[in-house]
Symmetry: C2
Subunit: 466 residues, 2 copies
């Protein structure tokens, strides 16, 4: 341990207590990675502060001594935003794990940044309320991380992404100032409001320590439909029809032929609607306030499914039935991993009107570069995931082919009204593509905001093209 | 005309054409005021640029020569945000009045900043879509002004304020850079997103030139209910019951006894539910996708009204009926003006759980200071308007009493979880109260953002406590 690190360690131990500072290599190995490919990075010290005041002191010290600080939530990111690519300190929010208040009449919840997403959702549901922030990582992701990455979910097509639920934030700025960005009221017209500046900022502008989320009433009914189609075109026709009929489903998960075949082969037992004549699935969910409205919705959907050449449909209302119809969808990730591959997750979001052309283009690009493709995800949001598979023993040529395919896809996306990431973020992995999306004026504004708040560039350096 | 103004005039005429530059005293008198009290301010030149490129050149020139620039929309503000309090140039957006595209499948509209709000709403409704940005000034306010002030409306209780509808903005920054802040897609996780920084910034950070609004399906049914109660407590009990029953009305306009009496006396013909035993009104609106869901809602509301001591209720479904039941609500402003008074509009927003206590406190404060009070507005949002009346011939003592009452009200609001403004903004009139709401750390962040983007302080100087 070199002298500056030793001094840093003493300082951190003085502030947080020695139990909450670690340089154990095994611990650091774990915290040096997230869910991004198989990447991990070395760094000096892990610190687990207990409150915003401790974080303020840490940031002030690191600013004085030019030490990189990487805030870390649950480590569920797939774009590498939590990777300590410049070493330094990893600052875990895991001890800030209290739900501070659920306000039923006023319709909001205050939680510390380190609360696990699923725990918060469960707590508010027990009060008859609902927090529609449900990323697939919700069993281990933190609410602070959801905000820092503007996390989406399968339910964004009804409820929007995390940004839409954030009412107010407590943030420790890089110079140590602790601020509340907004207010806990339903309407707020009190001038410049910096709240949303921190949503999606991926730890580059400060440390989010408390989150105030708007809550809505808990839907009392929820139904899933698994619909099978003979081809992509019919399934997307159904998505457009759902949109046109204004039925506002809470999920419209598309499972393309490649994802369906891979996952059906991976799962041992036979899955529903895996049969001749069906090569594309659509998993549709509705949440409604009560049974009368749900029945009314389902009547309308039923008519539309018939009009759109749905080959077969299963309706799931119990937990067991829902698990059965959604099992294949949720096993796609495991299936991809089990084949000895990792994957480059292309998470572009495109206008809905261009969705079919986007999927066809991605397929053609991958075919041409001989890169295996698995395509599935959030159809109604124009945000399918295109997973470019990569063998763990990939050759240089295969790596080059994957990179070339990704370049072409992002080139297409950004010249057709789309964005580089719909929900996974820019982080470390996607930085090179940001200049495709934004011109120099826009990029310069982001850099200006960064250097205003963090002139020493200590916060999560080397990320988000900053 | 002094030398710098003459040079400025030549420059502006070169850029925009002489037809679009004016120093006519009558024109300047009009553009030197908005809807704020009877205030107006002198300034040098009015300019009406035709596109963002012209605005960019104007801002660059004014930056070099340290000339104040006040962007102006429809002039509907009541907090004085558009008043040229430091003179200089008033930059009207009225020529940027084109709707550039309505994208039905993708669910958004692109409009120039100078489009009149009601025109845009009408245009999207003709396409079967709906823009729930409906401030009471919508017949003459501009969409750019709605964004710049984060305008609310009677329908914010269902749809939120303008902020919730903004997807992307084109902004001319004070140094002349023209940027698009975000992207026209449903999900966007591409790092720091400055879009919402400009929402509610009241012309202090740049000139908003184009607005992209999210659209929702047009509700096919709309019903208004006018409910009469014997007292404020019963009416607010009904508001809480609507909230608890999760009925999500699109309006819950409270009309307190003082507003009811004043307006009923002002209107010549007898108004519905103005009768013995009723001293408080609640105007409730529902918008639903179809008649089945509407009927289901109305059944539920009917039961709740009976439980909450509603004295009488009128149901309005036709345009004529709606006009009849809402006439009194919409005549409150005229009624206040007709009595030879103007008013200080206290537009605080408080937590719903504290609404009744807030109204009682405001009433007590006004009684103590002998300031006439008219109270009405957006109950479910915790955003009633407390109008402190002021005679046009007010004495110094009356002016002092009004100021003292306003001070006390804002002191109460900001120590009880509320904000100084729910929808009207800070502008010129409410600046002094902002430090009650925000601590120095938070205020310093806003100032930092301002000086980052506008180091010369040319944009709308003297506003929003900047």
């Amino acid at each position: 341990m070199n002298a500056p690190v030793s001094a840093l360690r003493s300082y951190l131990e003085d502030i947080c207590g020695s139990a909450y500072v670690s340089s154990d290599p095994e611990v650091l190995y774990t915290y040096g990675s997230d869910q991004t490919l198989h990447l991990h990075f070395p760094f000096d010290l892990l610190v687990k502060p207990g409150n915003p005041e401790e974080i303020s002191k840490i940031l002030q010290y690191c600013n004085r001594h030019n030490i990189a600080v990487v805030p870390r939530g649950g480590g569920s990111g797939v774009a590498g935003a939590a990777l300590p690519v410049k070493g330094g300190v990893v600052l875990s929010l895991e001890r800030l794990n209290r739900i501070l208040g659920i306000y039923n009449v006023d319709g909001y919840v205050i939680a510390e940044a380190g609360v696990v997403t699923a725990d918060l959702c469960k707590a508010v549901e027990q009060q008859g309320l609902y927090l529609p922030v449900a990323p697939s990582s919700m069993s281990f992701s933190f609410v602070g991380g959801n905000v820092a990455t503007n996390a989406g979910s399968i339910r964004s097509c009804r409820y929007g992404t995390t940004a839409q639920q954030v009412m107010n934030l407590e943030v420790v700025l890089p110079d140590g100032r602790i601020i509340w960005t907004g207010a806990n009221v339903r309407k707020n017209a009190t001038g410049v409001n910096p709240t949303q500046l921190f949503v999606g900022s991926e730890g580059t502008l400060g440390v989010i320590t408390k989150v105030v989320y708007r809550l809505i009433p808990r839907p009392r009914t929820e139904v899933m439909l698994l619909a099978g189609f003979c081809c992509l075109e019919d399934a997307l026709g159904m998505v457009m029809a759902l949109k046109a009929a204004e039925l506002s489903p809470t999920a419209t998960e598309l499972i393309c032929e490649n994802a369906l075949q891979l996952t059906a082969a991976y799962l041992k037992e036979r899955q529903p609607l895996v049969q001749d004549g069906i090569n594309t699935h659509l998993l549709i969910e509705f949440q409604e306030p009560d049974q009368v409205i749900m029945d009314h919705r389902l009547d309308a959907v039923s008519a539309i499914l018939q009009q759109h050449r749905c080959v077969d449909v299963l309706v799931a209302t119990t937990a067991t039935e829902k698990e059965r119809v959604s099992k294949l969808r949720y096993a796609i990730g495991e299936a991809m991993n089990s084949f000895g591959t990792t994957y480059r997750d292309v998470d572009a979001c495109v206008p809905l009107s261009g969705l079919q052309q986007y999927i066809e283009t991605v397929t053609a690009i991958c075919n041409r570069h001989q890169v295996p493709l698995i395509c599935f995800g959030h159809a109604l949001d124009g945000n399918p995931h295109a997973m470019l598979l990569l063998s763990n023993k990939a050759t240089q040529a295969e790596l080059a082919a994957l990179a070339a395919a990704a370049d072409e896809i992002y080139g297409y996306v950004t010249t057709h009204g789309g964005v580089v990431s719909g929900e996974h973020g820019i982080g470390w992995l996607q930085q090179q593509y940001l200049p495709l999306q934004f011109d120099e004026n826009r990029l310069s504004l982001t850099r200006q905001i960064k250097s205003m708040l963090d002139p020493g560039n200590i916060m999560n350096p080397g990320k988000a093209a900053l």
